[in-house]
């Protein structure tokens, strides 16, 4: 995983340094040659890209120095910027994930148990709507109706609120973020359960006298949860990119807005740090899911080269 991260950092660094328009200071007309020289030296831009990379890596590894923001938050260490933004976004994303999983599982199970009934059809319909309509439309509608028309929630995020008030002001964005993951989990679990219900061991469970519902709950879900881990990984990254839109609409000072504005600024050290951060999150998710696999599913998979 460390090697993966290292390669990502390397590629990210190179790509971002070689982007078009990345002529940092080279032609700023308001500066004298001496000033440009000082600035370029300050950000090590006077050195070849590989050397810049080594300097960056050394700073990152030895001092935890992610560099300094060059245009959005001039002079502020990038890590300080992230430190302020990450908790906000993570709060949304993790709460959203924590809502989505149980809700998705619940509705998936209900749909599977009540297969081919009106409940199932209604769920399926809702699932498709939630998956198909982009989150920015949902966010706008939620904001318009729930917050503006019915006054149930604040229209924008209230930074001064804490505890329950904070959750209250974040509920709409979290909800907007959760629609698609809930629908995905539901769809996945329903399909997975429907398959498991037909399997032999479920038949056995039913011959033992369990009703189909009991059998599904006691035996089916457990088996369906294992592959669910595979859905969670992309889901989490999905939520993160969704927050990009949601944060703008609800004026939440999180990573989503930062990502776009850092690219647009352009603020390369910040962009790079965001790229690394998200890669790290996604790698950690994979790792957690991997470990969870070991816990949930004791079977060991051995893959190796045994054919020519």
């Amino acid at each position: 995983m460390l090697i993966t991260l290292f390669i990502i950092v390397t590629i990210g660094f190179m790509v971002i340094r070689l982007m078009p328009g990345n002529t940092m200071y080279a032609d700023d007309p308001d500066m004298s040659a001496a000033q440009i020289e000082v600035l370029r030296a300050k950000y090590h831009l006077d050195k070849p890209v590989p050397v810049q990379y080594v300097i960056f890596l050394r700073g990152l590894l030895l001092e935890g120095d992610w560099g300094t923001s060059i245009s959005l938050y001039v002079g502020v260490p990038v890590w300080d910027v992230l430190k302020a933004k990450i908790p906000v976004s993570m709060y949304n994303n993790i709460v959203s994930l924590m809502i989505s999983l149980p809700l998705g599982i619940l509705s998936g199970v209900i749909a599977a148990i009540r297969k081919n009934t009106i409940v199932d059809y209604a769920t399926s319909f809702a699932v498709v709507i939630f998956i198909s309509v982009p989150s920015f439309i949902f966010a706008t509608l939620l904001q318009y109706f729930a917050a503006f028309k019915w006054r149930l929630f604040p229209i924008i995020y209230d930074a001064s609120a804490t505890g329950a008030g904070k959750l209250h002001s974040l509920l709409l964005p979290i909800l907007a973020l959760s629609f698609s993951p809930i629908a995905r989990v539901t769809r996945y679990l329903r399909a997975e359960l429907a398959e498991t219900i037909n399997s032999d061991f479920m038949l056995l469970a039913r011959t033992k006298g369990l009703t189909e519902t009991q059998a599904t709950l006691r035996h089916g879900i457990r088996n369906s949860l294992v592959p669910l881990a595979n859905v969670v990984i992309p889901m989490f990254t999905h939520i993160m990119s969704g927050s990009l839109v949601i944060e703008r609409i609800f004026s939440i000072p999180g990573m989503g807005g930062l990502m776009v504005s850092s690219i647009n600024a352009p603020d390369y050290p910040l962009t790079l740090a965001i790229l690394i951060f998200y890669s790290l999150v996604s790698l950690v998710t994979v790792l957690v899911v991997d470990l969870a696999y070991g816990v949930i599913d004791p079977r060991i998979r051995i893959g190796g080269r045994n054919i020519e």
């Binding site: 002529t23 001039v74 002079g75 229209i155 924008i156 930074a159 600024a265």
Partner: protein, 586 residues
């Protein structure tokens, strides 16, 4: 020596996104009398503000915030009658006083009772320290060059801030001296007027920073400073004290009882939310959460009759920058007739309908006044209309004629041009699509026109990376200068040959000479009619050459809650709405 740009330049997009007006101040310079009784909270919103450091802030919204909680030497304040503004000292007492006949040595007296929010007294040392920091040769702040030389050129300042790490120019050579704790001496490179000096020290980047806090925010090598950012410290000293700031979310201000002109302030509190989505802002207004909202083109139709609607004159002309040096298109853009063809092929009336704006064939925006003394708008002067083309500059036959001439002159039978636009601006996108459709219809099949949406960062960096060595970065691009609303002549600098921040690679010695005469000669500085004559000449020339193709202006349109009583009856150029001086009547 390279000359410094005189004007604050903000991209058109930034303007469009900017939510708020400019600073403002008190109608009554005489403290003690007429104590306002009305207190209350004003709720407003701004775009993104990522730093409060006055030397680095580049966002339009930053100006509003910084001017609310910092202090400078001079400032615009609403006048007593509520129909205009006065330009007077904020920290300074009275106008700067010339100390020699050449108009190069000035003395400014400041108040002796000004305080920081922690009670530290504000003295000339603070002023000099702040100016030294903004021009620090290693800190390299964004605004250094403008402080060193804009409306006036401070003696030795340019050399000082541009010395890099050579350590060859000591601070003592810079023409800023302390006479006593409350008297500042400024020495300029050349002749300056009282107004020049005042204007120079009214910009937000000459506002004060608190020395101990600033020092604490330095990085170890003293090449960067976090003052006024997420992590750094902050010390207010302006009309309001910044009591709470959640970056990207909200600003809370409380009235500063120690502010020198505290009596002018009627508000107890101001809350600014950071909102970037226009739908969200409108909903916030309609729900009563904020007291004002600015309306985009799509929203205007529903509110055109609303009595809360307050229009304001447009502060910049949206134009198409022409890269005349571009060699990819057979130098077509370098051909005057070709450019004129584009100029006359533009149906500005239709475009105005599209963007709910005003067709513009001129360079100087409608909000710019010809003279601070009279307050007459430049555009309203009959001389400024005499040379404008009829029918809003739309004449298909003339356009075709110019186009044919251009083709003949260039010896080509087909011209191909590409325009870039920013995907994030819905109005320029719409107009680009409109031109993409109509220009070829007017000019015929020999004209091929492409449009290309790019990210806003790329659009601006392409425009700015234009150089003589690299002329082909773009062909046509959207632009618009947001220049000083009080000084017409100065605004023409953006088209001078030496103005480096420009988007249009245009050089003309004759024109440059006109500008220098208007802005730097003693006559230009003192004889307003003479200066205006030069301005007409410059504008006529620019229109005739079609170096930039003006398309439209968008008036500001703002819904303002009727519980807010503004200090002026309406928006005033250079002063804005004056939120700080508003009263809340519930």
């Amino acid at each position: 020596m390279r000359k410094r740009p005189l004007l604050a330049i903000v991209l058109l997009i930034a303007c469009a996104l900017s939510a708020c007006g400019t600073p403002a101040v008190e109608p009554d310079p005489d403290p003690g009398s007429d104590k306002p009784e009305v207190y209350g909270t004003l709720y407003n919103y701004v775009g993104t503000v990522s730093t409060l450091n006055p030397f680095e802030s580049s966002e339009t919204a930053g100006t509003t915030i910084i001017e609310a909680c910092t202090i400078g030497l001079y400032e615009y304040f609403p006048n007593k009658t509520g129909d205009g503004f006065v330009f007077e000292g904020q920290l300074a007492i009275g106008d700067p006083v010339a100390k020699n006949d050449e108009g190069t040595l000035w003395e400014i007296k400041i108040h002796d009772n000004a305080k920081w929010e922690n009670g530290d007294p504000i003295t000339v040392d603070d002023v000099i320290y702040s100016l030294k920091q903004v021009m620090d040769p290693l800190l390299l702040t964004r605004r250094a060059s403008q402080v060193a030389s804009e409306y006036i050129t401070i003696k030795g300042a340019v050399d000082y801030c541009q010395q890099g790490n050579s350590n060859s120019v000591p601070w003592e050579t810079v023409g800023l001296k302390k006479i006593d704790d409350y008297t500042l001496q400024v020495e300029t490179e050349s002749f300056a007027t009282v107004n020049d000096v005042k204007t120079q020290f009214s910009t937000k980047y000459t506002h004060l920073v608190h020395e101990p806090t600033w020092e604490a925010c330095f990085s170890a090598d003293r090449t960067s400073n976090t003052y006024g950012t997420i992590t750094g410290g902050w010390m207010s000293c302006g009309p309001f004290i910044l009591t709470d700031w959640t970056e990207g979310s909200q600003f809370v201000f409380e009235r500063n009882p120690d502010y020198i002109r505290a009596d002018d302030i009627s508000l107890e509190k101001m809350v600014f939310y950071v909102i970037t989505d226009s739908n969200t802002a409108l909903e916030m207004f309609l729900a009563g959460n904020i007291d004002t909202v600015s309306l985009g083109a799509a929203a205007i139709e529903q509110y055109e009759d609303d009595p809360r609607l307050h229009p304001s004159r447009p502060g910049s002309v949206t134009s198409i920058c022409v890269n005349i040096g571009n060699t990819k298109n057979n130098n077509a853009l370098g051909n005057k007739n070709f450019r004129k063809a584009l100029f006359y092929a533009t149906d500005r009336e239709a475009i105005a309908k599209l963007v709910k704006g005003v067709p513009a064939t001129w360079i100087v925006a409608s909000a710019i006044i010809s003279s601070v003394d009279t307050g007459v708008f430049f555009r309203d002067l009959p001389e400024a209309q005499a040379y404008l083309p009829p029918n809003n500059g739309y004449d298909p036959d003339l356009a075709r004629q110019y186009f044919q001439t251009a083709l003949d002159e260039l010896g080509i039978d087909k011209a191909e041009v590409t325009m870039i636009y920013s995907e994030s601006s819905s109005t320029t996108k719409a107009v680009s699509e409109f031109l993409h459709k109509t220009w070829p219809e007017v000019l015929g099949p020999q004209f091929e026109f492409k449009i290309e949406g790019v990210a806003s960062s790329l659009a601006s960096s392409l425009r700015k990376s234009w150089t003589a060595e690299n002329p082909n970065t773009y062909e046509l691009a959207w632009g618009g200068w947001s220049v000083s609303l009080t000084d017409v002549a100065n605004g023409f600098k953006v088209y001078t040959g030496w103005f480096n921040n420009k988007n249009e690679p245009h050089y003309n010695d004759w024109y440059d000479d006109l500008w220098e005469k208007a802005n730097q000669s003693e006559r230009g500085k003192t004889d307003n009619d003479y200066r205006l004559d030069l301005c007409f000449e410059m504008e006529e020339y620019l229109i005739d050459e079609a170096l930039t193709i003006p398309i439209y202006e968008t008036p500001g349109r703002r819904l303002i809650n009727d519980r807010i009583k503004l200090p002026l009856d309406d928006y005033k150029p250079a002063f804005g709405w004056g939120w700080m001086y508003a009263k809340v009547v519930d």
